[in-house]
């Protein structure tokens, strides 16, 4: 029997419907479709997909169990390597990782590995998540700073190894960017909470409202713990640095998304935190965060939602799926366009953005063609809200307060491959070490650091 060349589609809410709600866009596979999709896997000997996975999931093995209809066994395989499968199955850039390496790509579309992972995680959650038997206690204590993807992964793995782990989180909810950044329609917060529930089930303790560097210092933590992992992420918003950026109506993507996602401003006034966007919203940038902003704006009732980006479509850093979803929902793309200044009325309220047209010149250090302004091409666009989504830098709060810690030129904590910093016992990983990247890379870093910490604790007397 010939192998089907295309992935089985996931049913999803129609664009017209979904821009009126914050519910998740795709519904996920049913059991029958999951089995059919799993059967597409060639079970090839080389297993290139595993190499493409930052957390080293034994992909062909779990797929094999799905194909056999043994979902429980499949879940077991999955969970030996990832603590957050429902998250990965939704927000991983599979196309450039596991699926990017799939042998089936030679004849058509890869196996829908991400969709299968998501299916399994949802299957398990509906059934009730099983907590694995706890490992024998080692008597060692590890502190983890930040309950985002890196910290949660590191904490979960360390707990599985028998160490007692305490997480210190600055905010009132766990998840980091999974909670404040990624919108409900892409990653329902109940799912994040369930995944965190699993980590807690492993014995990890989470302390909220603790800003490390302020409430408690890294030095104080080191007095009480055998090792520490810092995973405080890239929380510092970057600005366009153009006139008018402090007008009423200009938000950083972080403020906008935190208000809407973590503080649930989309349910204002049932929830107390407000957000207001008016009728026309412009998002600056074209990464995943920018797509999240533009799509969230539509759901909040914006009549027009623009993406304004200085390069062209091929350079857009967002995942294809996100761009596709944004287009389907009616987001309008102004490419090769750069903002020059924001213009307000006499009360200081944002009314317009002045832009300039760009063309692509020679490649820059990122290898992408450098955008060059076309002189005299300035034009004004009427907008009510501007969302600045051009990236984040590592949050300086923790790095700045640790004496002697080696800091890189982007304000990141310098580490080796396994998360070791220049100070023995202090490890770091995720966006705080690499600068803003993806959830899965942060998870991979957390995983490697957990192994390095384990080794460190064994050697340390």
């Amino acid at each position: 029997m010939a192998v089907r060349k295309t992935k089985h589609k996931m049913p999803e809410q129609s664009p017209k419907e979904r821009i009126k709600n914050f519910n998740e866009v795709p519904y996920g596979y049913d059991e029958k479709t999951a089995i059919e999709e799993a059967k597409r896997c060639l079970q090839c000997k080389k297993r290139p997909c595993v190499n493409g996975c930052p957390v080293e999931i034994d992909i062909p093995d779990f797929i094999k169990h799905i194909a056999e209809g043994d979902f429980d066994k499949a879940v077991e395989v999955l969970k030996t390597k990832t603590n957050l499968p429902a998250v990965c199955g939704r927000v991983c850039p599979y196309e450039s990782q596991c699926e990017g390496e799939c042998t089936l790509k030679k004849i058509g579309e890869p196996v829908g590995i991400g969709r299968l992972e998501r299916f399994l995680a949802d299957y398990e959650r509906k059934k009730g998540v099983k907590i694995p038997k706890k490992a024998k206690k080692t008597g060692k204590k590890v502190a983890v700073v930040g309950a985002g993807p890196a910290g949660l992964t590191c904490a979960g793995d360390l707990a599985k190894m028998g160490h007692s782990v305490s997480i210190f989180e600055a905010l009132h909810d766990p998840g980091g960017v999974l909670m404040y950044g990624i919108p409900e329609f892409r990653l329902p917060k109940e799912i994040v909470k369930a995944e965190v529930g699993y980590i807690k089930g492993l014995g990890v303790e989470i302390n909220y409202d603790v800003v490390v560097g302020k409430t408690i210092s890294v030095d104080e933590i080191m007095n009480d713990y055998d090792a520490i992992f810092i995973g405080t992420g890239a929380g510092l918003p970057r600005w366009l640095r153009i006139p008018g950026e402090n007008l009423d109506g200009v938000y950083s993507a972080n403020e906008f998304l935190t208000r809407v996602n973590m503080m649930k401003a989309y349910q204002f006034p049932n929830y107390d935190t407000p957000v207001k966007i008016g009728k026309i919203v412009a998002t600056f940038g074209a990464g995943n965060v920018a797509m999240d902003c533009a799509r969230t704006s539509l759901r909040l009732g914006a009549e027009k939602s623009y993406i304004i980006y200085r390069r062209s479509e091929v350079e857009m850093p967002a995942r294809d799926e996100e761009i596709e979803h944004a287009k389907e929902e009616g987001v309008i793309f102004h490419l090769l366009t750069n903002p020059v200044r924001f213009i307000g009325d006499d009360k200081g309220i944002l009314k317009q953005v002045e832009c300039i047209k760009m063309r692509l010149g020679e490649p820059d250090e990122s290898g992408r063609r450098r955008p060059v302004p076309i002189e005299g091409s300035n034009f004004k666009v009427k907008i009510d809200t501007a969302l600045v989504a051009i990236g984040q830098s590592p949050n300086p709060l923790v790095p700045k307060t640790v004496k002697g810690l080696k800091i890189g030129k982007w304000g990141n904590i310098e580490t080796d491959e396994d998360g070791r910093t220049n100070i023995p016992g202090i490890f770091a990983g995720g966006d705080i070490a690499t600068g803003a990247a993806t959830v899965i890379l942060a998870m991979g870093a957390g995983k490697r650091a957990a192994r390095a910490i384990d080794r460190y604790l064994k050697i340390k007397k």
Binding site: A170, L171, H172, Y180, Y208, D209, V210, V211, K214, T215, I216, G235, L236, P237, W239, E245, N246, L247, D248, Y251, S252, N254, E255, T258, R259, M263, K264, F268, P269, N270, Y271, D272, T273, P274, K276, K347, G348, N395, P396, L397
Partner: protein, 273 residues
């Protein structure tokens, strides 16, 4: 959960609460603030620390009921709990020997001024305090601040106590009298801080103001609290809350503080507060 151990009604709209928060109390220093959330649906709001007791593990906040959250907070009583209480946030005040300092508090801004007055006095400064309020009833912490002040002046808008007029009138008088002033600090309504800065600017007297813009996370993540200081964008939550009073763009701050006025009214109306 953080328990309310003490509550005091300072005036019709101003209340004091002592909250059990040992970790915050242990680290709190004059000039810093906390962020609290009353319940699951609540907003995160910043309040400046009015006092702390490291041994008892308590932090005191004094707040004016201006929006939904502060009004709701005002209805809570001793024994009730706050869901979140995080801090201490922001940079503490520079407590050093300036010589003579003029400490100006307006309205509810007198509360955060108090611990700074106390610490500056302990450091050996000659402390002149000027407290301003709309009327005598709204004047707070007079006795406490007096204890740590070498001179104390009161101003009220209606003349019900002290000088009738503004804090800036007294400041101008002190300057005119030829007092050597090492530093002026002003905490209160934005317009008051702006006026104070305008008074001291021609004399090049070091002037510090403590800002309280709209915040969400309080850890430098959202930038909602950004203020323009000397043409540079600063985050009040991590770079502040104190800034060089001569460099702050007060008009922009006032504008940004009005961002959600309509929404605030809507929330109050809905909650019936």
């Amino acid at each position: 959960m953080y328990k309310i151990l003490e509550k005091k009604v300072m005036s019709d709209t101003v209340k004091l609460m002592k909250i059990k928060a040992p970790l915050v109390a242990k680290k709190a220093r004059a000039g810093q603030f906390i962020i609290l959330r009353v319940d699951e649906k609540g907003e995160r709001i910043p309040l400046t620390i009015a006092d702390y007791d490291r041994e008892k593990g308590t932090v005191t906040v004094i707040f004016m009921e201006v929006g939904k959250t502060t009004k709701q907070l005002g209805t809570l009583n001793v024994g009730d709990f706050l869901l979140n209480f995080v801090g201490p946030l922001g940079q503490p005040s520079d407590i050093e020997k300036y010589g003579t300092v003029v400490m100006i508090g307006g309205g509810v801004g007198i509360a955060p001024l108090y611990p700074i007055v106390r610490e500056l006095k302990k450091e050996g400064n000659y402390v002149i305090s000027i407290l301003g309020a709309r009327n005598e009833k709204l004047l707070m912490l007079e006795k406490e601040i007096k204890n740590y002040s070498d001179e104390l002046y009161i101003t009220t808008d209606d003349g019900s106590k002290g000088h009738k007029g503004f804090v800036s009138d007294v400041l101008q008088k002190l300057i005119d009298e030829g007092k050597e002033i090492g530093m002026v600090m002003a905490i209160g309504p934005v317009i008051m801080m702006k006026v104070v800065a305008n008074v001291t600017r021609p004399y090049k007297i070091k002037t510090l103001v403590s800002l309280n813009p709209i915040m969400v996370d309080g850890t430098g993540m959202c930038g909602g609290c950004r203020v323009s200081v000397g043409g540079e964008t600063k985050f009040a939550c991590v770079d502040g809350p104190e800034f060089d009073g001569h460099k702050v763009d007060y008009d922009n701050l006032m504008l940004r503080n009005r961002r959600f006025v309509c929404e605030e009214e809507e929330a109050c109306k809905l909650a019936g507060v």
